[in-house]
Symmetry: C2
Subunit: 527 residues, 2 copies
C-alpha cells in the first residue's frame, strides 16, 4: 500500500511540509497519492541509522547477505499486480516492459546473492610469512575487499525498477556490505515506495540491522544535496543527466572528506557504418536502426543517437530508407511531460543549427506526452565544428553524419566526448581496413559492438556499462554486472593478524572454501 | 651526466628562464647543478608526445612492456655510483638507504615486468554467445582492462627513487600501457634527471614510441598545476602532503573532463597498546617504538605518530622508558632545510596546545638540518577536543594519548581522520576483549598490524598502502604492490567482435595462455 511517507530505516515518517504527486503520462493526469518530501531531521536520522547499521552489517556473513538479497527479490515479486500497475501509471511504459524490468531487477538481486553467498568476490590475497628472509624477515599479510560505508543511491527516471530503489546500484552496495539510502525519484515515487517496503520487509525477515535501508522522498534538489554533503555518507551512485550527475560529482569532490561517486550520465552512442556494409545491407540496417532508435521511445541510455558514414549514394539511400522506416513506427509515450518537453526543446535546438537537414520529423498529431521521432543529416565538417550537435537528445532522435572519407570519420570520433558504447557495422574483412577509425572509437567508449545495436545491455560479468567522462564520472568502474560491486569496496590488509581474529575469508583453514590468491597462485586450498 | 635540462620525450630541452639548485643538507650547502624549469611550450610538447605515444603504446604486447620495464631497471643499476652519490647529496640520507631504495625500485620494475609479461592481470572475462536463448539471444561479450592514457606522476620528497621518477606510480602506469610525464621533485632534481635518462635509454633500446616518458623540472607549483589541468592528461599520481595532494585533487575534479587522481598523503598511524601488553612488555615496546619513530629521521609516511593506551602505572612507565630510549638515539639529518623548518614549526604548534606535557625534547645542540626527536603526552579527553593534535608532524615526533578506559579509546579512534595504518599491541587473547576498539580502528585505516610496527611497507600483492581520506584521495586503490596498476586502467568490453580483431588476451585460442574467467569459471583453456 502506498502511503506517501519516507522510510527512515524501518519507520515510516512524513514530518515535512512539501508534498507532491506523480503523473500518468498515458492518461495525462496526476496520480492520486501524495508524497511528503523528507526533512533535514529525517535525513539526519536516516544517515545516523545507516552509520549505526554499518557497524554490524559490514561484517555479517556472505550467506546472511545472500538471504537478505534473495528475500528482497521475493518480496518484490510478492508485490505482484500493485507494483506493475503503479509502475505503468507513473511512467507511461507498457506492462510488458514493467514485467521485463522487474525480471531484470530480481535477476540482479539473485546474481549478487549468489556472488556474496559463494564469497570469492572479496579477492582474498594472502602472502605468508618468511621469518628467515634476509636482510629482513617477511610478515604475513592478507588482503580482502571491505565495504566503504553508507551509500546514497539516486534512481534513474528511465529505469524505475532496474536502476532505482532496488536496482543495480542498491543491489551491489548491499552485497558489498554498505547500508543504502535511496533518494527516491519523484517521477515514480509510488513504485519507489512499494519497492522500499519490500526491502524493509526483507531486512526484517532476515534479521538485518535497522538502518540498512532508507527511502527518502524528494521533489527538488535539496534532499539529494544534503545527502551527498552529509559526513556519514561514504559513497554515491547516480544514473541520469550530465547536468545532474556533474552537480553531484562537484558536491562530492568539494566535501571536507571527498567521497567516491559513480554517475552514469549521457551518451550519444556513435555507430560507424562502413561503406561495403551500407552498400550491401543498407535497407536491412535502416530497419534495424529505426527500431533501435525508437525502442522504449528512445529513452535508453544506449540509444544510437549518432550514425556515422562516408558520403556515397548508398549512404543517401540508407538515410531515405531510415526516414521512411522510422516514420512508419507508431509514436509512443514518454515518461513524463517534463521529459517530452525537454525532448522537443533539445531537438528544436539541434534542428536550429545551421547546415543541418531534417531527414524526417514525424508530423502527424500525436497524443499528449507522445514523442515524434526525428532524423537529421549533417556533413562531417559541420559536425566537427559545432559541439551543440554532439549533445544527447534524450528521446527518439538520431543524427546521421556524412563524412568525406575515413580521415574525417576518425576526426569526428576523436572530437567526441566519452561514450557508453560505440558500434561498428562492417562487411566481412572490411573492419581491418579501418584500424585507425576503430582505434579512435575504442578510445572514446566503454563497450564496442560489432554488427549489432547498442540498445540491450546484457547483465553479465563481461559487461561494461560506463566509459570515459561524461558517459560516467569514473571510467574505471561499470554500473552493470557483478563487477559493479567494486565501486563500493576498498582493499584492506591484515599484517601478522592472529588466525582466530581474521575474517573467515582469510583464515588458514579457508572455511568458506573460496578461491584465493595464495603466494601468487589461485587456489581454494587451506594453508 | 646531469645537465639540468628537461626531457621532452627523448629530447633534452631548457628553454625556460627560471632556474634552481638542489641542497645538500648534510654539508648545509647548495649543490652545483642548475636546473631549468619547464616552460608552457615544453609542457604542451610533452603532453602532445605522450598523447601520440599512447596511440601505439596502449596496445603493444605485454612481452614488449616487460622488456621496457626490465631495461629501465638495468639502466638504473648501470647509473651505479653517480646515482648513489647524487641521491645522498640531495637528501642527506645515508648510502645504505640509497642502495636499499634502489633495490626496491628495481624490484618494483621487475615485478611489474613479470606481471605484464605473464598477462593475466588484464582480468580477461568472457561470456560466450547463446544464440538460442529465449526470449532474446545472448551476445558474445569479452572484457579486459585497458590503459587510461597519459599519467602525470608527482614524486615524493622522502622516496627519491622508489616513489619518484621510476617509482611505484611510474612503474604501474607504464606496465598498464600509459605514457608517463614526471613532474620532477625539486629537492632531488639531479637524482630525478639521472633516473629519467635511464628510462629514456631503456625506451630507445626497446623500441618504445617517443613520448612514452618525459621528465619536467619545476621549483614552484606552476608546472604541476598546468599538467593536471592539461586536457591530454588522463590521470595523476601524487605522494606528499595533504595540502599539496588536496590542491591537485581539486584541480583534477574541477576540470571540464574530471580525471582520476590517486594522492597518498598524510597519516599519523595510530598504535593501540593494550593494558596487558604494556604491563608485560612495556620496556621492550618502548625500545621498539623509539626506533620506529626515529627510523629515517621520522620521514616515513608510516611513522607511528600516535600511541594510544589506557591510563595505568605501566603506561606511565612506558612513557618514561620511551623518552629515555628515544633521547639516547643519535639525531639524524632531514631531507632539506625546509623540511626541518616545517618539523620544528609543526612540533612547536603541537607543543603549544594546552594540557599537553612534553615527555622528552632532545635538548642538546645538533648539526644544521638535524632533527631533535620529541615525545609529548596528553589525556584522551584533551586529544578528542583538539583536532590540532591529530595533525601529522612529519619527522621524529610522536604523541602518547592516555585514555580513561576502552570506551574513550574507541572514541579517540572514531574521531581520527583516515589513516594508512593502525597497529594493535596485545598479549595472548587480550585483543578479543577489545573487539569494538579494533573494529573502530579497522574502519579508519588501510592496513592493520598486530604486535609489530607500521614502518616497513612490504611490496607484495596483499599489501594495501592507502586508506580513507586523507591517507589517500581514494581508498579503493593501493599505491604499493601489483594491484596499484588498477589506478591506471579501465574495463573495456567487446560485443560480438570478430576473433581475428580481438586483442590476444581475448582470442578464442588464448595464445598467451593466460588465466581468464570463461562463463564464470577461472581457466587458461582455449574456447
Amino acid at each position: 500500500m502506498i502511503t506517501g511517507k519516507n522510510y527512515i530505516g524501518d519507520q515510516q515518517s512524513a514530518n515535512g511540509q512539501t508534498t507532491y504527486t506523480t503523473f500518468n503520462p498515458q492518461l495525462n493526469i496526476e496520480n492520486s497519492h501524495v508524497f511528503t518530501e523528507a526533512t533535514v531531521d529525517e535525513i539526519n536520522e536516516a544517515t545516523r541509522l545507516a552509520s549505526e547499521a554499518f557497524k554490524t552489517f559490514r561484517s555479517i556473513s556472505g550467506e546472511k547477505k545472500a538471504h537478505f538479497l534473495n528475500a528482497i527479490a521475493d518480496e518484490i515479486l510478492a508485490l505482484d499486480d500493485e507494483l506493475i500497475t503503479t509502475y505503468c501509471s507513473e511512467t507511461g511504459l507498457p506492462e510488458g516492459r514493467a514485467k521485463g524490468e522487474r525480471g531484470r531487477t530480481v535477476g540482479q538481486l539473485r546474481t549478487f546473492a549468489e556472488l556474496v553467498g559463494e564469497g570469492s568476490w572479496v579477492e582474498a590475497t594472502i602472502d605468508t610469512a618468511e621469518p628467515e628472509r634476509q636482510p629482513m624477515p617477511k610478515s604475513d599479510i592478507r588482503k580482502l575487499m571491505v565495504p566503504l560505508g553508507p551509500v546514497v543511491v539516486f534512481g534513474a527516471s528511465n529505469f524505475p525498477l532496474a536502476y532505482s530503489t532496488a536496482g543495480g546500484d542498491t543491489a551491489a552496495a548491499l552485497a558489498a556490505g554498505c547500508p543504502v539510502i535511496v533518494k527516491s525519484h519523484p517521477m515514480h515515487a509510488g513504485t519507489g515506495e512499494l519497492v522500499a517496503s519490500a526491502i524493509i520487509r526483507a531486512a526484517d525477515k532476515t534479521g538485518m540491522p535497522n538502518g540498512v535501508f532508507s527511502n527518502l522522498n524528494s521533489r527538488g534538489i535539496e534532499v539529494g544535496t544534503q545527502l551527498v554533503k552529509h559526513p556519514k555518507v561514504k559513497a554515491v551512485g547516480f544514473t541520469g543527466s550530465i547536468k545532474g550527475g556533474r552537480a553531484l560529482y562537484d558536491l562530492a569532490a568539494q566535501r571536507e572528506e571527498p567521497i567516491p561517486i559513480f554517475a552514469e550520465m549521457g551518451s550519444i552512442n556513435p555507430v560507424v557504418i562502413l561503406p561495403k556494409a551500407i552498400k550491401n545491407r543498407g535497407e536491412a540496417l535502416a530497419k534495424t536502426y529505426a527500431s533501435s532508435i525508437t525502442l522504449g521511445t528512445g529513452q535508453f541510455c544506449t540509444k544510437p543517437g549518432l550514425l556515422l558514414g562516408i558520403e556515397s549514394d548508398a549512404l543517401s539511400h540508407f538515410v531515405t530508407t531510415l526516414s521512411e522506416e522510422i516514420v512508419n513506427i507508431e509514436p509512443s509515450c514518454m515518461l513524463h511531460p517534463n521529459i517530452v518537453g525537454a525532448y522537443e526543446t533539445n531537438k528544436a535546438k539541434a534542428i536550429a543549427q545551421t547546415d543541418l537537414t531534417v531527414g524526417v520529423d514525424y508530423n502527424s498529431e500525436v497524443q499528449p506526452n507522445y514523442a515524434k521521432q526525428t532524423i537529421t543529416i549533417v556533413k562531417g565538417s559541420t559536425f566537427i565544428e559545432n559541439p551543440t550537435l554532439h549533445q544527447e537528445v534524450f528521446g527518439p532522435y538520431s543524427i546521421v553524419v556524412q563524412c568525406e572519407g575515413a580521415n574525417q570519420l576518425e576526426q569526428v570520433i576523436s572530437k567526441l566526448e566519452g561514450q557508453l558504447t560505440g558500434t561498428v557495422i562492417a562487411d566481412d574483412t572490411e573492419a581491418a581496413n579501418y584500424a585507425e577509425v576503430i582505434s579512435a572509437l575504442q578510445n572514446r567508449v566503454g563497450r564496442i559492438i560489432y554488427n549489432g545495436v547498442p540498445t540491450g545491455v546484457e547483465v553479465c560479468p563481461s559487461m561494461v556499462h560506463g566509459g570515459p567522462y561524461p558517459a560516467s564520472t569514473d571510467s574505471r568502474f561499470t554500473a552493470v554486472g557483478i563487477h559493479s560491486i567494486k565501486r563500493w569496496v576498498r582493499p584492506f590488509s591484515y599484517q601478522d593478524w592472529p588466525n582466530e581474529l581474521l575474517p573467515s575469508e582469510l583464515k588458514n583453514e579457508n572455511p568458506l572454501e573460496i578461491t584465493r590468491t595464495l603466494n601468487g597462485k589461485f587456489t581454494n586450498q587451506k594453508i
